[in-house]
Symmetry: D3
């Protein structure tokens, strides 16, 4: 991840929670109180976000010590230690909620992603995410998806081309759309087109796209599409594919399964910070 | 909501998604193409975030028209229209994903909140949220909670005092902690103390707190706590209370039920924007 | 105070003063010149802002040493040393004005506040500030008020409710206004209502507000109001109360005296930095 | 003033006051309530900041109408109307405090400046401000000084050279300091040197500075300095010159009198906004 | 281009030039003076940046009229009109330099790019830019390159993979490097590898990269490389290729020619704004 | 330079280039790889920007070592070492392009400036820059000009007055324009007026300006202007003066030669970073 961007977003999060100051901690905790604590997983899952949690404390006080026990991408069981924090009690208490909020959300995404990846493991299909992410936190969520063992679809509207139904309507067809796009983008940009019907596939192949997205097709249709495309370009299955449907979709032979669920509906992983203050 | 803050966050979200530019739309859509479309609920739920979605389009192009059909706080059925958007096709396509991402997340929170509120309806207990929110987006999530019919707990560390177990450990007890806090905060700040055992309640009452938080107590203990407190101060139940447990917790007679689940694990509400381009 | 916010505001202040660069210092002072100096109080007062002054130097050069002699909240006499600064001469000279500007303004507020607090000392009344603060610097000014020994009224429009005359006009009365507010805010928010006539007090008491603000009442009327309220809720006196009027207002028996003067019209405390360069 | 900078600072001020939202106004005031009101001077003074106040409302709602009655730079009497505001009641109530805080502080500065200017009127001396301004708000305060009829000293460390005692100590004398500076700065930068003793004046004149600052000299010494300099370069008097001392300082024949008091210790001008809501 | 980003950068540019205010214009130009003027090309070239210039005026005053005569991507002759501006004289004068600075730099890039494109026209090779751009202004410069008729190489380190010599050194070879990269990036990311010797080409082909960059090869070696690759993947020539060398490089049969010169060393196109004030 | 501003601009540049992360480096380079390298001048020139390059690495990783060999303002030959960098390979690779882009552009400006300064050396004329700089990077470019041995003209519209033809048109003449300006600006602001004809000089001298700008005059006219002004005020020659014309312009006896070319059309100096990775 980009450390400059990351520091900015964690600073914004700390500002949001602390506001004018932590009324409770400022009143009660003296400057020389020390705290040491352990982040514990209260349920099983895949960890992501330790570096972000560490930064939440370090931006408040660079002398706080944050030791990672279960690194990002590791699976933990309920009750297992994830990280330890030691330092001045004030910044530890002020940073706690922000550190946990980031880490719980990111670990929740990594956990559900790891489940999807396990479902797809027997097949060649790779799991990827979508742009259905929490606004302004996409880099963290796409990182969590990677920690879950999946890969990232495009990051935004600027790093790859995905020609959707609406674009086709304006352009007047796949051939025209791809031709317009090729005039605009350089040789390092991949072009994917979204199709809803098998009939569109020959035109897509002829137009020379790099990948084809099968939008909301049922399993038999997907299988036919895979057969038609016959390995010439990358085939992506998309549209409300949840973890429990991954295996059957993967079995159709698609190369890529994209899942909005990974970043839209992942429950947070339950982590808690048990502190001991001196 | 604060319009100045809101415009900033939506601008950040648009920047995140658009980056250097929308490669696909810039290549395909001409400046005079028009688009009109409808946001449809693909499942039943409670709407929140229409104003945010509208802003996503308006910040790209003030002339885009966004008409709200189902206002924030309204329940919709699957298939129902939520809003309409009309305008220049470029900005409509560029703003679509950001608008939906905000609205789906916020409606997801409003929907689960509305369920919790319904569970508590026969009792006097009010549902509130927590600080377990998505970092940097708390105002949106707390707003969505209100659209779900619940109320907000404190916004951050600076607008109310919540003395937790860790603070008690440092201060040496409830009496000392409350006394330190009262010296620091003005007459408009409420003070709540978190207790884990019934034995702490008399000290809390004597210390003169405004509210008491029963942390992770079982139902019979909560009932005893409510009896002990006997209406003298506000009683809040907290700790992993999910929608299916709301009714039994509310039945203990507590005044407030705070639920991290509302903002941590609410699945996004499925909304889609069907466009028609000219 | 929130260290993230504080660093931002001090950075903005340094940018404002330094702009493209310090023409004089860059031309004259070589990179290895050292400076040591002492901040002296040129008049008696209460100190506030040492931490802010220290930060002004540290943000320019982390190796500058800033030693606090008279901590925030301490009273100093004319001629007394307040702090010492040692380090590279360039950053010391470039940060001097910004450090002093913050510290003089904050100490000015602390000084006048301490005077008000002394006036109120024989009575139970506590002194608090208002929202009449310098735009964008409120957290510093509210901190200075606390260093003067007073407490803070609400920080902004979002952390407590104050129903003013204008709100009453729209709502149609205290009862209706309080009822509307209670539906909107959670259990951690206090509600205060502003009254201008004794006749409004019974309705305010009946509506169940947490505090009542007596707006611009004369002393006998305040005394009657205090009698009517009889300790049931907090009573605040407000409206052009200057230091010389504090004692007579406090003598009426009010609980809280809010003073715009503390942050609007406090003359800066005269501090100077005497440097010795090598 | 720079409109881009101004909008930024007013936005920051609104964010500070509104935070997550105006709890009171959001609860009580409906979207179609209208408000109209008048800003009244509650004491006599010189107005500055109307444009800033207008912006506070316009940034919340561009449709609010703000009509200036007493323009910046105008003198008003107690009770006189300064401006009128009409529009949607929500934004009017939410922007009121920020608008007034800016305008009261700026008008306070303009008022005391106008007094100083009146004192100097019989003499050739011009009043100027200093860098002893409120951090991050200098452009507003320097503008207010101009509305008071005075001129601005340099804006910051980057637009003119002022060689102070400390710089002289490092450089080893006026001649050396001026020579170092002339090598660094272009032909559009003026150079002023601060002197504490009459003996320094010949060296300053010989070094070819554009102006000489007489630092904390008594009246007879100033008079001697003016005689020595004999109109060859600009003479500035500085150092704790308050309004009541302006006339005697001006009578010494100096060209410029700089006064920290204008921006450090000006009491806010009392303005109030009386609203009428429908 | 992304309108949100663009407004931010133009605002920053205006702030840089205007600072505290335009001393000259504020002193001389009254609020009701009007100005109308024409931007003229003082030498022949390709125009880019009209939209940016327009924004410079609109951000200062939305009522200023900016009419584009020679649209971006158009070639103009010396003396030809490029755009017209009409409006309040103050903002027109304050925005002039910023508008011209953007437009001259961007048109300079478009102009040299158009020359390179013309050189390559008889061949299949496409001209692309590099990451050797002016820091923080890359989107403007890449846009100008497109207006010159060329395409963009990757935007940054995050939208495509370019394995350079240094990466190969760390990875231990092309095969290992490509394998590591494929595990990290999704199906929409292209992978290019930089080679310095013909001997590296078979390994690159075998590793399955999407493109190969011939780094600083001489013409005969390039020709051999093209022959070896034989159209299987995209071939890019890179390394100090200036406009006068484009044709000979293109003649080798490469697909892509990347040129740092386009954005690093393009002289600004001379444009002037002739105003007429009333 | 202002270190606060500088850190901001380098952070923005790093964000621009790194975006969501460096796909290549993150995939290939492990956390404990080390890199050491040398920045080499590939052509002769004057160095500027080492401090900026150092910061690019330090902001990514404070432990990276950056040793300056050829300090800013030094002339280097092709092949000469300029600086060395050692540290963790990840940040070294991620910061390389940004560091070089800044340093190449700044050294390009210093190099052409040094040429101009050499041309003017036999004469009294000093070379200065203009406001024709790259938007948002002016302080870097003006610094580079100084490293080239020249001086800076005004930084922006706020630090000095330059009355141009358009201002004269509005004011109705030099006398009126200067009089309006003198009422607005303090004693530390210099006033220059632009003249196009010899006839305007007497009025300019009478109006008491500090400097006169001869706009686009031919050599004989400049010589006449210099004679007319006769040393009473500073004379600046301006208007498309390129390095090859400096000597003949300087020979006319002007005091100042301002050159837009220095910052508008300086080709970047070719620098490369040769890395060695372990």
């Amino acid at each position: 991840m980009n450390p400059i961007w990351l520091a900015d977003v964690v600073r914004r999060a700390l500002n949001e929670d602390i506001g004018y100051g932590d009324l409770t901690t400022e009143a009660i905790v003296s400057a020389n109180s020390q705290a040491s604590g352990t982040i514990i997983a209260k349920e099983a899952g895949r960890i992501a976000g330790s570096e972000v949690a560490a930064l939440a404390f370090h931006l408040l006080d660079p002398s706080v010590n944050f030791t990672i026990i279960a690194a990002d991408g590791t699976d933990v069981q309920a009750g297992q230690q994830v990280a330890q924090v030691n330092g001045s009690a004030g910044p530890v208490l002020m940073g706690e909620r922000v550190a946990l909020n980031f880490m719980q959300n990111m670990s929740g995404i990594a956990t559900i992603t790891a489940q999807a990846v396990r479902e797809a493991a027997p097949y060649k299909a790779r799991i990827v995410d979508t742009r259905k992410t929490t606004p302004t936190l996409r880099p963290l969520e796409k990182y969590a998806v990677r920690m879950g063992g999946a890969l990232n679809h495009r990051y935004g509207l600027d790093d790859a081309v995905l020609i959707k139904e609406n674009h086709l309507a304006v352009a007047g067809g796949i051939t025209q759309a791809v031709s317009l796009v090729r005039r605009r983008v350089g040789h390092m940009v991949k072009v994917e087109v979204e199709v809803e019907h098998l009939e569109q596939i020959p035109e897509a192949l002829a137009a020379g796209v790099d990948a084809i997205l099968l939008d909301n097709m049922d399993i038999p249709t997907m299988r036919q599409a895979v057969a038609k495309i016959a390995g010439r370009i990358i085939v992506e299955a998309s549209g409300n594919i949840t973890v429990d449907r991954v295996a059957e979709v993967a079995a159709t032979g698609v190369d890529i399964i994209s899942m909005g669920q990974l970043t839209r509906s992942a429950p947070a992983l339950d982590l808690s910070l048990r502190l001991c203050l001196q």
